[in-house]
C-alpha cells in the first residue's frame, strides 16, 4: 500500500472567538508536513444578500458575525455611500462613524487582550489550563480583569450611543448616519476617557514587556517573514476607518502603495483550496506562492509611516526600534501591536469627544447613483472588504466579502505548522504542543465562525487519526 499520512486533529481551538479545528498532517516518517486550520466560513451569506435592497445591507450584514458586527456595518455602509454617489460624508457623519469604529476597535482589542490573551502572557504557555484562563486572571490579578470588563463596556456604550444598539445597530446609513451624539450622550464618555487611557497604557506596557522579555523564544515561535497589507492615509498615517491600500514585503519595501480600494481586485486575487471552505487571498503580481500576506494590528503598525496620535506614535517608534525600522515579523508581536492600537483608539475617541462636529445636524448626503462600489475598513482583526453591485431597481445583484480572518488564512496555517514542527515529537499530542498551537492561532485573533463563543470554557478535544481515518489517540482537555 502507498505511504499514508497521519492526521492529528485538534478541535475546537479554545479561547479564540468562534471555533475551529486544527489538523496536523504527518509524513511517512512521522514528521510534520503541514498544519491546516479549518474554518467555517459564510459564503452562503453572499447569496442571501442578493435581491435585497441596498439600504438594508449595512444592517443585514451584521448577521454575518456576532463578533465584529460594527465592522461589517461600516464596511457595507461605506460601499453603499458609493452606490448613492457619495465620496465625502458630512463632517458630522464621518466623525460619528469614526467614533463608532474606534469604539468597536477599543472594545474588541480590550476583550481579546484581557480575556483571551492575558492568561497566556501572565501565566506562561505551560501553566495548568485550569489556571490559565480568565478566571485565573481574575483571581490573581483582580484589577486587570476588572479593567478588561470596564474597557469593553466603555467601547460597547460608544457603539450603542452611535449605532443605537450594542449589537446590530442601524447608525450608518448610505450617505451618512441617522443620529448625532448629543452633549448629554457625550458627557459620560468624556468623564471616563482619561481613566480608559490610563488602563490602555498599562495594557500596552504588559504586552511590550512580555514581548521584550521573551524575545528569543518568540522570534522562533510560529514566526516567519511575510508581506503585510493595510489601509494608510494619503500621508502614510495609520487610519483604521479609511485610506488607500498599501502592501509591503517582509523588509518593508512597498509592493504597491496608495491604491484606491475601488479597484482592489486588480491587486488582490483569491485562491481556492480543496480542503478548505475559505479562500486564500494573495497579491496578484506575486502569485499565490509568495503573494500571501498578513493583515491586522501587526500589519498596520508595520505598514504605516506614522500614527497621528502622540502616545501611540511614541509606542510605534519603540516597536519599530526593535527591528531597526523594518517590519516586525514575529507572530506574537501582534499582541504588542494590538495594544498600540488600543491606545491609538483611546486617543482618537478622546479627540472626537472634544469635537463639536459630533453635535452637528447635517447627517446625510446624496450624489449620483452608481451600480457598483467597494467599501473597506480596518476591522479589529484586519482589512475587511465589501464589494457590491446594485441594479437599477436598487437590488443587490452581487456581493463579495473578504474578511480579515480570510486574509490571515495562510499566515495562521504557517504559524501552526511552525509550532507543530518545533514542538511535536512522536505521534502523541502533548499538552505543551496543544497549548502552543492555540497560542499561535490566538495571536491573529481570528473570528473562526459566527458561532456563539464561550470564553475560555470550550472543551478541547484532540484526535489523532491514521491514514485510514481511524482514531489512534484521543484526548480531551481544557
Amino acid at each position: 500500500m502507498s505511504v499514508g499520512t497521519k492526521k492529528i486533529t485538534i478541535e475546537p481551538v479554545t479561547r479564540v472567538e468562534g471555533h475551529g479545528k486544527v489538523t496536523i498532517l504527518l509524513d511517512a516518517q512521522g514528521q510534520v508536513s503541514q498544519a491546516r486550520l479549518h474554518i467555517v466560513e459564510f459564503r452562503g451569506f453572499e447569496r442571501f444578500i442578493q435581491g435585497r435592497p441596498y439600504w438594508e445591507v449595512p444592517v443585514l450584514v451584521q448577521r454575518l458575525c456576532g463578533i465584529c458586527p460594527v465592522s461589517h456595518h461600516l464596511a457595507a455602509a461605506k460601499a453603499m455611500d458609493g452606490i448613492v454617489g457619495v465620496d465625502r460624508l458630512t463632517p458630522t457623519a464621518e466623525k460619528i462613524r469614526r467614533l463608532m469604529h474606534y469604539g468597536q476597535v477599543f472594545q474588541s482589542h480590550a476583550l481579546h487582550f484581557f480575556h483571551l490573551v492575558s492568561p497566556d502572557l501572565l501565566f506562561g504557555f505551560d501553566a495548568d489550563p485550569a489556571l490559565r484562563n480568565v478566571i485565573g486572571v481574575a483571581n490573581r490579578f483582580p484589577e486587570l480583569a476588572v479593567q478588561g470588563v470596564m474597557m469593553r463596556k466603555f467601547g460597547q456604550e460608544i457603539i450603542k450611543a452611535t449605532a443605537g444598539k450594542k449589537i446590530h445597530g442601524t447608525g450608518a446609513v448610505p450617505g451618512g448616519v441617522n443620529k448625532n451624539l448629543s452633549v448629554a450622550e457625550r458627557d459620560p464618555f468624556l468623564k471616563d476617557i482619561d481613566q480608559m487611557l490610563v488602563w490602555c497604557r498599562a495594557a500596552l506596557q504588559i504586552a511590550k514587556t512580555y514581548t521584550l522579555e521573551h524575545l528569543a523564544e518568540l522570534a522562533d515561535f510560529g514566526s516567519f517573514a511575510s508581506n503585510h497589507v493595510a489601509l494608510v492615509r494619503p500621508d502614510g498615517a495609520m487610519d483604521l476607518y479609511h485610506g488607500n491600500l498599501r502592501a509591503i514585503d517582509s523588509e518593508g519595501n512597498k509592493i504597491f502603495d496608495q491604491v484606491d480600494y475601488q479597484g482592489y481586485f486588480n491587486y488582490i486575487a483569491e485562491e481556492v483550496k480543496p480542503w478548505s471552505y475559505m479562500k486564500f487571498p494573495f497579491i496578484s503580481k506575486l502569485g499565490p506562492e509568495t503573494g500571501w500576506y498578513r493583515v491586522g494590528p501587526l500589519a498596520r503598525v508595520n505598514a504605516c509611516d506614522f500614527i497621528d496620535t502622540p502616545e501611540a506614535e511614541a509606542a510605534r517608534q519603540e516597536f519599530k526600534a526593535l527591528t531597526h525600522g523594518k517590519p516586525n515579523n514575529i507572530t506574537m508581536a501582534y499582541h504588542w501591536a494590538r495594544m498600540i492600537e488600543l491606545l491609538h483608539a483611546g486617543e482618537k475617541i478622546r479627540e472626537l469627544l472634544n469635537d463639536p462636529d459630533l453635535q452637528g445636524t447635517d447627517l446625510v448626503t446624496r450624489g449620483e447613483r452608481r451600480g457598483e462600489s467597494v467599501g473597506l475598513i480596518e476591522a479589529p482583526r484586519g482589512t475587511l472588504f465589501h464589494h457590491y453591485k446594485v441594479d437599477k431597481n436598487d437590488q443587490v445583484t452581487m456581493a463579495n466579502l473578504i474578511v480579515s480572518t480570510t486574509h490571515n488564512n495562510t499566515p495562521m496555517n504557517l504559524a501552526v505548522t511552525g509550532v507543530a514542527k518545533k514542538y511535536l515529537s512522536g505521534a502523541v499530542i502533548t499538552e505543551g504542543l496543544l497549548n502552543r498551537v492555540e497560542v499561535a492561532i490566538r495571536a491573529y485573533d481570528p473570528c473562526l465562525s459566527c458561532a456563539t463563543h464561550a470564553l475560555g470554557r470550550m472543551p478541547l478535544s484532540v484526535e489523532l487519526k491514521d491514514c485510514t481515518g481511524q482514531i489512534i489517540d484521543k484526548k480531551v482537555a481544557g
Binding site: G51, R52, P53, W55, E56, P58, V59, L60, Q62, R63, V84, A163, G164, K165, H168, G169, T170, G171, V173, P174, N178, K179, V364, N393, D394, Q395
Partner: protein, 236 residues
C-alpha cells in the same frame, strides 16, 4: 333612536354612539382592543381576527361588530390573549420576518403586537416559505416575505386612491397580494404619494431609499407600546 348605548368591557361601563363598532366605542373609552387588519380610514373587513372579543359569551370581531345596548364584552382575558398570541405567532412563521434587519422594525404593528403580548419566540415551527420581492417600481418596493394579508392596501387603493392596484389572489397557503393580477408594481398606476403606500402595518410595502433613517430609540414603538395612544384616552 338617539338614546345612547350602554355596554361593558371587562366590567367597565362604556357609552357608545349609534353606528359605532365595538372597537370604535372602546377606542373612545380608552380601552385598547388589539387589531391588525383594521385601520381608522378604511372599511373594516374582520379578517385577521386579532380583535376578537367575547360578546355575551360568543366570539366576535370587534372591528366589524356594531356596538349594541346591554352588551357584556370581554377583551382582556387570558383566553383571548392566548388566542391573539396564536394568530400573531402564525403570522410570523407563515412569512419570513427577520426583524433584526427589517427597516420596519420599531415602526411595525406586527412586531409591536408581539412585544405587547410578550412573544419572544414563536411556538410554531418556521415555514420559511419562498416569497418574492417586487422592486420594479422606482419609488416603492413590495417585500412579500413580510405580508400578513391584512388587505389594507387593497382597500386603501380602492377607497382612498380611487385605483385598483392591489388584490388578494390565490387560495390558502398560496394566497398573496397581487398587483393588477400578476403584473409588477411598475406596470401599475401606483404612485409614491398614494395612501396605499402608507397603510401597510408591516414592512411589505416600503418606500424606497428611506429605510433606517430614523435612529433606534426614536421610532414609533421605541417610545410607547402599541395601543398606548388609545389607552391614554382612558378615564379613571
Amino acid at each position: 333612536m338617539n338614546k345612547s348605548i350602554h355596554l361593558t368591557i371587562d366590567g367597565k361601563p362604556v357609552e357608545a354612539k349609534h353606528g359605532q363598532t365595538i372597537m370604535q366605542a372602546a377606542d373612545a373609552a380608552g380601552i385598547y382592543i388589539p387589531r391588525l387588519c383594521s385601520h381608522p380610514d378604511l372599511r373594516p373587513i374582520g379578517s385577521c381576527r386579532v380583535c376578537t372579543v367575547i360578546v355575551d359569551g360568543r366570539p366576535q370581531a370587534a372591528c366589524v361588530k356594531p356596538a349594541m345596548d346591554g352588551m357584556v364584552i370581554e377583551n382582556d382575558t387570558p383566553e383571548l390573549l392566548q388566542h391573539r398570541r396564536n394568530i400573531i405567532d402564525m403570522m410570523f412563521v407563515e412569512g419570513n420576518h427577520f426583524c433584526m434587519f427589517c427597516e420596519k422594525s420599531g415602526n411595525c404593528e406586527l412586531q409591536a403586537m408581539a412585544y405587547r403580548f410578550g412573544i419572544t419566540a414563536p411556538q410554531y415551527p418556521f415555514q420559511f416559505p419562498e416569497k418574492a420581492v417586487d422592486a420594479s417600481h422606482p419609488d416603492i418596493m413590495l417585500d412579500h416575505n413580510r405580508c400578513i394579508m391584512c388587505a389594507r392596501c387593497v382597500r386603501a387603493s380602492q377607497e382612498l386612491d380611487g385605483k385598483n392596484v392591489f388584490q388578494a389572489i390565490g387560495r390558502g397557503f398560496h394566497r398573496k397580494i397581487g398587483v393588477d393580477g400578476e403584473k409588477a408594481l411598475a406596470d401599475t398606476d401606483m404612485a409614491v404619494g398614494d395612501r396605499s403606500a402608507d397603510v401597510c402595518p408591516v414592512g411589505c410595502i416600503i418606500k424606497k431609499r428611506i429605510g433606517f433613517r430614523t435612529a433606534i430609540g426614536r421610532r414609533l414603538y421605541d417610545r410607547q407600546p402599541i395601543g398606548s395612544d388609545i389607552e391614554a384616552n382612558a378615564t379613571p
